[in-house]
């Protein structure tokens, strides 16, 4: 693995599987009465959040704490950033405090990449502008793998067919058809997912109004469609994205209601999905816009699982980046 996790493209197929396999084992910790491991004792993880976030920050914080790391939370509001401090000066401050890892969320695409040049610790991208959000893609892949029974959590010793104590390699996502629907243009989740799911062997289809697709989408390793109803019967996974009104500086579609009619997932549309198909959403959801409440709360929806899996996956990332010798490759 690289020292940093800035883009989903930093992960080879082996790296990605290693993260998912490690997360499979770490997920078992959350069933135990003592949900803590001593592995990162004495190491410091800084959560550097220039943009509002609930679940990602809490998820990283929980992950670091379960590994016994010291966590320092830094949010731009109420810090020297509000007084005009630059990213570089903030980085140097963190460096002086001896951060072993910096988890950064920033509204500018590329901020984690710049930060990685200034600090000695590992930089983990927790979302930069409309660019990438690699740990979200990892937890989505983890959720898909579990739901389709391809994770390494097979029967254990003492159970029939158990590979005694051998955590075995979980499978890839080869052949699974994943449809990502909605605001691709502003979505870092979509970009990271396209890259990672492709790495893991899934076939990705993007469905969105033409105005909400990025210009260079034809260079992405996926196909593109505009008709949700045609795509649904051929999908194993449907990932609904939030309409990011806060990033929209122009009119991308006539009205929210029209968008919802054409690209929203309601119960009637969900019925077109194959029997085993699942519905995902990275959150936060706009119920009634891209996803109907009945769909979000159905057994097919993995929204809550995704949040729980986020902690295990982020533990795996922190362990693999920080757990070993420094500067290892």
């Amino acid at each position: 693995m690289n020292r940093h996790l800035i883009s989903a493209a930093d992960l080879s197929r082996d790296d990605a599987l290693r993260v998912l396999d490690t997360a499979d084992e770490l997920a078992r910790i959350s069933d135990r009465p003592i949900k803590k491991l001593p592995t990162l004792r004495g190491r410091t993880v800084v959560n550097l959040f220039f943009e509002d976030s609930t679940r990602t920050r809490i998820s990283f914080e929980a992950a670091a704490k379960r590994l016994s790391a010291d966590v320092i939370n830094f949010s731009a509001k109420g810090s020297s950033v509000a007084k005009g401090e630059s990213l570089k000066d903030t980085a140097l401050t963190l460096e002086a405090m001896g951060a072993d890892a910096v988890v950064i969320r920033h509204n500018a695409s590329g901020a984690p990449h710049r930060l990685a040049e200034w600090v000695r610790g590992s930089v983990i991208n927790a979302g930069d502008g409309a660019h990438e959000h690699p740990t979200q893609a990892l937890l989505d892949a983890f959720t898909i793998r579990r739901r389709f029974g391809r994770s390494s959590n097979g029967p254990g010793p003492g159970e029939p067919g158990g590979a005694a104590g051998q955590p075995g390699r979980g499978g890839t996502l080869d052949g699974l058809r994943v449809t990502i629907v909605g605001d691709i243009l502003h979505s870092r989740v979509a970009r990271s997912n396209v890259i990672l799911l492709h790495t893991l062997g899934a076939e990705v289809l993007l469905v969105a109004p033409p105005t909400l697709l990025p210009v260079a989408v034809d260079t992405w390793p996926c196909s593109v469609g505009y008709d949700l109803d045609a795509a649904l019967p051929k999908s194993d996974v449907v990932m609904m994205l939030r309409i990011q009104l806060e990033r929209m500086n122009a009119a991308f579609f006539p009205s929210v209601r029209e968008y919802s009619r054409r690209y929203g997932l309601d119960s009637a549309r969900m019925a077109q999905l194959p029997e085993r198909a699942i519905v995902m959403h990275p959150g936060p959801m706009n119920r009634g816009v891209e996803i109907a409440a009945g769909v979000a709360d159905s057994p097919r929806s993995t929204v809550v699982e995704q949040v729980a899996n986020g902690v295990s996956v982020r533990m795996a990332v922190l362990y693999l980046l920080l757990g070993g010798a420094e500067g290892d490759q």
């Binding site: 003592i34 001593p38 104590g165």
Partner: protein, 208 residues
């Protein structure tokens, strides 16, 4: 935990035909001797715990796990009641994590009723510095509070670095520190044998 060299250093570790192991050292325990040692340990566990009623056998991955399963099967045969067994991964509790690249995790699989109030017998293939066992004791601490913890190893090669001693030993094997003890088990390596060799290659890492 696992033995010293990467498996298949000379390709022979995975070979299932007879006597493929020359070059990796001399055989100190053969299949039948391993079986006898495990039978004896099984009987000792029964004797020491008065029937092994409250015993849980936890193997330390990789090779402790099949050993624990074999011991459990042996005790079951003699006593007529099943003995729960499982695995205890100690990777996250190691004291040398930062000396090496992050390693893959093994699996911790504890019987559903937990370990509280039970006699846990830790099972490993080779006892060397004792650091693995120390890590295992820490890991157990996070799982519950056993009534007692005992230690069974197939081979005790000496050179302890911590005040830890085994309760059940398959074979005491006096070694020099530059020597390497390798345990091969059918479940993992395709054959049963214990080999004693010399750390020939510089890439072998920490020997045990």
């Amino acid at each position: 935990m696992a033995h010293a060299q990467p498996a298949g250093r000379s390709g022979s570790g995975k070979d299932t035909t007879a006597r493929p192991v020359s070059g990796d050292g001399k055989i100190v325990l053969e299949q039948a001797e391993i079986a006898r040692a495990l039978t004896r340990i099984g009987h000792e566990i029964i004797e020491r715990t008065r029937g092994a009623r409250q015993v849980i056998l936890l193997g330390i991955p990789t090779r402790g796990v099949p050993l624990a399963a074999r011991l459990a099967a042996g005790i079951h045969q003699v006593e007529g009641h099943p003995v729960p067994h499982g695995s205890l991964d100690i990777t996250m509790y190691r004291d040398d994590l930062r000396l090496r690249p992050a390693r893959a995790l093994g699996r911790t699989q504890v019987p559903p009723d937990g370990i509280d109030g039970q006699i846990v017998v830790l099972v490993d293939d080779v006892l060397y510095s004792g650091r693995t066992v120390r890590a295992a004791l820490d890991a157990l601490n996070d799982l519950g509070r056993p009534r007692a913890v005992q230690l069974a190893v197939l081979v005790d090669r000496g050179h302890r670095e911590l005040p830890i001693r085994p309760d059940y030993v398959g074979k005491n094997l006096p070694t020099a520190q530059h020597e390497v003890v390798r345990v091969l088990l059918t479940e993992v390596d395709g054959e049963d044998a214990v080999l004693l060799g010399v750390a020939g290659d510089a890439t072998g890492g920490r020997s045990r």
